[in-house]
């Protein structure tokens, strides 16, 4: 399809429209960062208040699975970037396959997270007043897990939303919608996915490592 066909009636040309689209997505990502920042702030405050309790609680998380998840998500960012590259070259089918691989990684992330959560439920590591584990002797155990479930839960919701977006893009790439003239949606979807990855890269050390 001719690039000009993608220009909306109120934009003078495609370049300006793409510039606007990218600016819009960056602004949206900024708002997402601020959404998570509330939780990061709460985490920081309570970590400062209950440093020992948080340390003990953090040790009860499965660091191996957390590390695997981090690698999974980082790799998925790579595949999504590659997908954009190929879609921009007009190789829609390759791009679609890469997006499918990204979706597989995302699904793997969610499955591993599911295992982690279920094992936490069994050990009584639950948020707030449902916390029944006796493994944490210092104050702060319930608070740690409240924040853990809220932060990973909100992140998980964003992973799911990202998967829906990538799914749509995958189908569009497969039918050959994008080429060097116009591949902005893939770029924007990729940007969103990178944000999802970035948030996890901050969550992982805060929750698992320190």
């Amino acid at each position: 399809m001719q690039p000009e066909a993608y220009v909306a009636h109120h934009f003078p040309n495609l370049r300006q429209q793409e510039h606007a689209a990218r600016l819009g997505m960056w602004l949206f990502l900024a708002t997402e960062i601020l959404l998570f920042s509330g939780l990061f702030t709460g985490y920081s405050v309570y970590r400062f208040l209950y440093s020992e309790g948080f340390e003990q609680a953090s040790r009860l998380l499965n660091t191996t699975l957390g590390t695997v998840n981090t690698l999974v998500l980082i790799t998925s960012s790579l595949t999504v970037a590659m997908a954009h590259h190929f879609s921009h070259q007009g190789r829609g089918k390759t791009a679609a396959v890469l997006l499918f691989v990204t979706l597989l990684f995302a699904a793997a992330f969610l499955v591993i997270k599911g295992f982690e959560w279920t094992s936490d439920f069994h050990e009584g590591l639950l948020p707030g007043r449902f916390f029944t584990s006796t493994e944490v002797s210092a104050t702060g155990g319930p608070m740690f897990f409240t924040l853990y479930f809220l932060m990973t839960g909100l992140h998980g919701i964003h992973v799911i939303v990202g998967m829906v977006v990538l799914c749509v893009l995958m189908i569009q790439c497969w039918i050959g919608k994008y080429d060097h003239g116009y591949a902005t949606p893939v770029e924007l979807g990729g940007m969103y996915w990178h944000l999802v990855d970035l948030v996890w890269i901050f969550l992982y050390p805060l929750l698992y490592l320190i």
Binding site: A138, T139, G140, P142
Partner: protein
């Protein structure tokens, strides 16, 4: 002049020297504010009259500001704002730093009343007696939600936050009564959560404090009658009668389960009966249990209690019931208060919270 401004602005009396200082700043700020607002209004009116539109096609010159204009527009207000801050903030710092020799009083807010306790006793509800002319430090916390201890006459306010203690202080200038209002919304009883600071001359205060500590009855200081005989109160009689009639052989007052249900927190408790139904242990049920114990037995207990029908006259039953009503875990005690009763996370000590 001070009095005139105070009345004009509907400010209450100045119950302390601090209140008077706050008012002086207030008058300064409000005077400058009124003058500026009037000047802006007059300037606007003047320009409007002088520069009325003469024709619909009239052209107007492009007036650009000179640097001096912006410097004035920024500098003069900023000068005033910072001056007011420079006066107001140190005053606030004074409020945050009680003198070392201040007398401590613990204030505990709960829905919907104020409890005051002096270290060393006594404690009571809704009346805070203080000596005039001596600094008093208040250590304020809450049992449930956020409240706020507000004394307009003293220009004093501090939020009562659960889980932490906050401090503030004041020195009442002279004897008098000052209303306390709750200033942080806390539910249905928010506007009824009133109390009173009673500033007494120091000699009377010391005498009252000594008398209150000698007395063994918790509610002595709340009674309006100053010379009331504490031993005449119903709960005290009820305690005596319960001992005489042998109630304590089967009922404890400290929560321990014994032959019969404990009396601690019994009043208005929702009791499960042996037939599966529930009953609220109100005056009627308690009276019935004394007269006809077998009628409704609490689940898990035997039908062992003798009936006191004909053995206890009605006024004495009333006294025993009134005594039972005072047996609450959060009841007022003659000893010093042990602090909030909510259950904190193990090891979390609210008095350690530094913020």
């Amino acid at each position: 002049m001070n009095e005139f401004m105070r009345k004009l602005l509907f400010l209450p009396e100045e119950g302390s020297a601090y209140a008077a200082e706050v008012d002086r700043l207030h008058f300064f700020v409000i005077t400058v504010t009124m003058i500026s607002a009037t000047m802006v209004a007059l300037a606007t009116l003047y320009f409007f009259v002088k520069y009325k539109r003469k024709s619909e096609t009239q052209a107007t010159p492009r007036v650009e500001p000179k640097a001096i204009h912006e410097i004035l527009f920024i500098g003069v207000p900023l000068g005033f704002f910072l001056l007011w801050f420079a006066i107001g903030f140190p005053l606030f710092v004074k409020l945050q730093n009680p003198p070392k020799d201040a007398m401590d009083v613990y204030v505990q807010a709960k829905k919907w009343m104020w409890k005051f306790s002096y270290p060393g006793g006594p404690n009571g509800t809704d009346v805070l007696r203080v000596p005039a002319g001596r600094p008093v430090r208040l250590l304020i916390t809450s049992r449930d939600v956020i409240h706020s201890f507000f004394v307009p006459d003293l220009r004093l306010k501090q939020d009562a936050v659960p889980g932490r203690y906050a401090q503030t202080w004041f020195t009442a200038s002279r004897p008098g009564r000052h209303q306390v209002l709750c200033a942080e919304y806390c539910g249905i009883g928010h506007s009824a959560m009133l109390a009173e600071v009673v500033a007494m001359d120091p000699v009377s205060f010391d005498a009252w404090l000594a008398e209150a500590r000698r007395s063994s009855v918790p509610s002595a200081q709340d009674w309006p009658g100053e010379g009331a005989d504490p031993r005449a109160t119903l709960p005290e009689q009820g305690r005596r009668l319960a001992a005489e009639y042998g109630c304590f052989k089967c009922h404890t007052v400290d929560g321990t389960r014994h032959i019969g249900p404990t009396w601690l927190d019994l009043y208005r408790k929702s009791e499960k009966l042996e037939d599966g139904s529930t009953v609220i242990a109100d005056e009627a049920y308690l009276t019935e249990s004394i007269m006809d114990p077998a009628a409704r037995i609490v689940a898990g207990y035997q039908n062992n209690m003798p009936t006191f029908q004909g053995r206890i006259p009605a006024p004495e039953i009333a006294a025993i019931v009134e005594f039972i009503k005072t047996l609450r875990t959060d009841a007022v005690h003659p000893e010093p208060s042990k602090g909030p009763v909510y259950v904190p996370v193990t090891g979390y000590d609210p008095t350690r919270a530094s913020r």
